[in-house]
Amino acid sequence: MPNILVVDDDDIMLKAIKNILNKDGFNVVTASDGKEAFELLEHTVYDIVITDLMLPHANGLEVVGKLRHNDANRNVGIIVVSSVGNEETITEAFRLGADDYLKKPIMAGELLMRIRKLIANKNSKTQFYTKKK
């Protein structure tokens, strides 16, 4: 079962996404701020990280940046889900290594589709990666 970490400071969003993803057979862990997310990331490797941008303790960009700089997490699929609409921030998120960006309010179906796509991509990539090793 793929492991997903969801980081958002809105508890309603956290619960809702958790429910929706659970139903579709994903294992979901939630964090409500940047610090909690970092602690979780230290111990477990996730397949997908879904993060908001404005978070207490550390912003979402930092989460993205740290993930990409960490060897264990380099291949994590990162989806940024945020209500921030300004272009610069979005480009910055991609520049730091986010795979996808969804603007709130989101469509649940779309989120699921993108998660599946990322996981599929990732699987092919890891195969390649392990072979090379």
Binding site: L55, H57, G85
Partner: protein, 509 residues
């Protein structure tokens, strides 16, 4: 000649003076109490207006909007090595789409700068620095190579021995139209920027009038030049890395009195003044300013000991001199938590500085006092501060001397004296309790009713314990002002605290 000698030797002079003084003091006291009463009513009106107007506002709109105005957050730091990282992290996580954090390392002698450079991956950049406001030389400017921290600018400058000097350097670098001034060790609410920028964006700018069936618009443009919010003591709050988890009134008695005093000064004072557009001052711990006006008004004055009120005064005077209407707005929610001094020594130094600052401000800007040209500032704000803030400790001092004189000469009418004292006492308890009640209207910060009532009860002992302290230190400040004792502003006062470094440059009054 004989008449004059008689006049003195028979005591007529002293009698006349005594009677005159009695009346003057009575008039003064009554008017002061009436002023407090009016302020209480005004502040209730002002708080209710704010609550009604903002009850249904969706603050998320500004986070999504490309039209959000940019804000520069300016935070000077001196020898804050112990806490600097978590403080800066906290500044970098505001809920706001377009802002920068300008941290000014004001010639720290500890590892503040090193820590920043390591933690936030900073490199020195070629920065075209132009001195629009005076400050001590800027040595280097740093930016982060990590895009996650691209909001951060760090300025390394020569110590200017004042927060004003460091803030000016920050303003020179600021690239946005508004700036927020704060202390690096203050804990700010995540929504501070949203809540403080809003008044800039929704000041009523005109009135619609119907004349002869035609709708006419009267341009009545009032530019908001600054906004502020209430401050509280962080002393006994539960804090996790720059985030308030639970608000609690301070347990120790000295900061506890200060919490009460701050609530009274902000909720009753500032909000009341807000209603009649006469806010005298935006606290140095937290305030947002229109950069253009602040620069034109000359920025902070590094020689002033009340640099926050001094800036607002000069910005206001600048607007008046250019025949422009302006307003300063206050938000009745607590957005900033600051460490209140816990020892009498540090507290005394802080209050003496405030007293001295007030005296200095009144003498620097004396042309404004009673000057109708400066509108509300000349006719309300300054006279109020002159009589009820600056003169209050002096008059109180004279009053006590007079009472002692009456007691010694056995002229005192004890029943009346006691009635008057009881009157002043009950009135002061009432005003404080009302302030705490108003505070409950906006937001119930304390979790239990015990904490709330516990704070309220402080009002009963305040006149005996806390008030004399404030009074004494204010007089000390005035004394220093008069004899012109050299005041070492920044560093000495900051070193008064034990590690971790804390300082309080916030003025509540």
């Amino acid at each position: 000649m004989k008449v004059i000698i008689d006049f003195f030797s028979r005591g007529t002079f002293w009698d006349v003076l005594g009677i005159f003084f009695q009346y003057a003091v009575f008039l003064y006291g009554t008017s002061l109490l009436i002023a407090y009463g009016i302020l209480a009513i005004l502040s209730l009106a002002s708080i209710r207006r704010y609550m009604k107007k903002n009850a249904n506002v969706d603050y998320n709109i500004i986070i999504e909007s490309p039209l959000a105005p940019g804000i520069s957050v300016i935070a000077p730091a001196f020898n804050e090595g112990v806490t600097i990282i978590s403080n800066v992290r906290s500044l970098l996580t505001f809920n706001y789409p377009k802002y920068e954090v300008i941290l000014i390392n004001d010639g720290s002698t500890d590892d503040t700068l090193e820590k920043l450079v390591n933690e936030f991956e900073l490199v020195q950049v070629d920065f075209a620095y132009r001195e629009k406001l005076l400050s001590k030389p800027v040595k280097r400017i740093f930016k982060s190579t990590n895009p996650a921290y691209d909001k951060l600018v760090v300025i390394d400058k020569v110590n200017g021995k004042s927060k004003a000097d460091a803030s000016n350097a920050g303003i020179n670098v600021a690239s946005y139209d508004y700036f927020l001034c704060t202390d690096v060790d203050c804990i700010l609410d995540k929504d501070t920027l949203i809540k403080l920028i809003k008044p800039f964006m929704d000041e009523e700018t005109s009135t619609v009038r119907e004349i002869n069936g035609d709708v006419q618009i009267q341009e009545d443009y009032k530019r908001v030049i600054a906004t502020g919010a209430t401050l509280r003591m962080v002393n006994s709050c539960e804090v996790d890395d720059g985030l308030i988890l639970r608000v609690r009134p301070p347990r120790r008695i000295l900061p506890r009195f200060q919490e009460m005093e701050y609530i009274r000064a902000f909720v009753l004072g500032k909000m009341g003044w807000d209603r009649i557009n006469s806010v005298p001052n935006v606290s140095g711990g937290l305030g947002m300013f229109d950069k253009d006006i602040a620069i034109k008004a000359g920025g902070y004055d590094s020689l002033s000991l009340a640099e926050d009120m001094d800036l607002i005064t000069r910005m206001g005077a600048f607007m008046t001199d250019n025949n422009k209407k302006y307003s300063v707005k206050y938000v009745p929610i607590t957005l900033c938590w600051t460490e209140g001094p816990t020892t009498l020594k540090v507290f005394g130094r802080q209050r003496a500085r405030w007293g001295r600052g007030l005296a200095q401000l009144m003498s620097t800007h004396r042309k404004i006092l009673f000057n109708p040209r400066y509108g509300r500032m000349g006719l309300i704000v300054f006279p109020y501060h002159f009589f009820y803030e600056l003169l209050a400790p002096i008059i109180e001092f004279l009053g006590i001397l007079f009472y002692i004189y009456l007691i010694i000469t056995r002229q005192i009418n004890w029943p009346y004296a006691i009635i008057l004292i009881v009157f002043v006492y009950t009135y002061s308890v009432m005003i404080t309790t009302i302030a705490l009640l108003w505070d409950q209207i906006t937001f119930k910060y304390y979790k239990t009713w015990g904490e709330t009532i516990g704070l309220c009860l402080m009002a009963f002992i305040e006149p005996f314990l806390y008030h004399p302290l404030i009074w004494f230190f204010a007089l000390k400040g005035y004394f220093n002002f008069i004899i012109g004792k050299k005041h070492v502003w920044g560093n000495m006062q900051r070193q008064g605290f034990n590690a971790p470094k804390k300082r309080s440059t916030v003025k509540a009054g």
